[in-house]
Amino acid sequence: MANQYQANMPIYLQLVDSFKFKIASGELKAGSKLDSVRDLAIRYEVNPNTMQRALAELERDGLVYTDRTVGRFITENEELINKMRESTAHEIIGQFIRQMKRLGYSDLEALEMMKKVLEKGESQNDGTK
């Protein structure tokens, strides 16, 4: 549990990424209410100020908004969510390509291999964190 956070990156940014992924994947539904900072901090086992900072960052990106009297919500802007989902997908593909390059595969070889794996259905485990 202690090591779910990467050592070399600010924790709040890792929280931002984690939330973004959950919003993109629909695990956190558009328009749904978020728990309080304190509860989120306890669930993620982080400092409340760190959680606050992550939420502020998400708010700046428009992914989360605050209704002063009611609480904090995930945006209802589907367009924005889709955009982010796409850019997250791009990032993952970019990572994949970079790793494959390091292993010595050309773009074409990587693509072929990907196709084969998909055909064989070897990717059942969904790779989410």
Binding site: A2, A7, N8, P10, R38
Partner: protein, 265 residues
Amino acid sequence: MMEQNNIQQFGSGDDEGKAATSASEVLPSGTGETGELVRITGLTKKYGKKTALSNVNLTLEPGRIVGLLGPNGSGKTTLMKILAGTIKDFQGSVTVNGKEIGPETKAIISYLPDTTYHSPWMRPSDMIALFRDFYADFDEQKCRGMLRRLGLDEKQKISTMSKGMMEKFQLCMVMSRNARLYILDEPIGGVDPAARDFILDTILTNYSEDATIFMSTHLISDVERIFDTVIFLKEGEIVLQGDIDNIREKEGKSIDELFREVFKC
């Protein structure tokens, strides 16, 4: 090597005359008009010829969880004891909530020492009675609830508890006070990883926006995620102080890794 602008080194030969360049003035510690809970200026403590703390300057805001980190013998416990009021002969000025250390500050500080402080015959129920008499801010219900959740028996003699149980028990007592400043000296040293998680959880659950938790530990990688501020103490001097994520961002490494670098033997 460390970047000079982040690590504030004090010349070892300096004396009181150079008190103007304090860590809190030079580094972005974020003190503001929001009010400060702790203010330490020019604090020096000597044990005979041995200097335990040397010209320490420090301010802590409310609503923070602050990690006090340093190798053995760096002065962590001494600093905590001074704040808690158990060491009284020191040079410099120390105030908590604007008051000099004394009965008024003791009333708002909840201190977990690095040693046990109960008598051998005592049971948790005795300690509860003691805390009820001693501390106006003691929340008995909260305490009993925590003890129950930990599976601790109020009637079991404390001296028959394992080290881990005792640590959990003492932390329950200390966290059951609605204090402004919690001083926790190595609260997780002797407990297993599962209990460690429970203790960190307890600390986070009891966090309040006008209280600050000031905690020392050696197990940095286990707990650094619950800090927002860290202080590195080296041979009685503050060599680094700042927001944990800013440090991680700047250094590209965890506090644990940075610690190993700064205090490399």
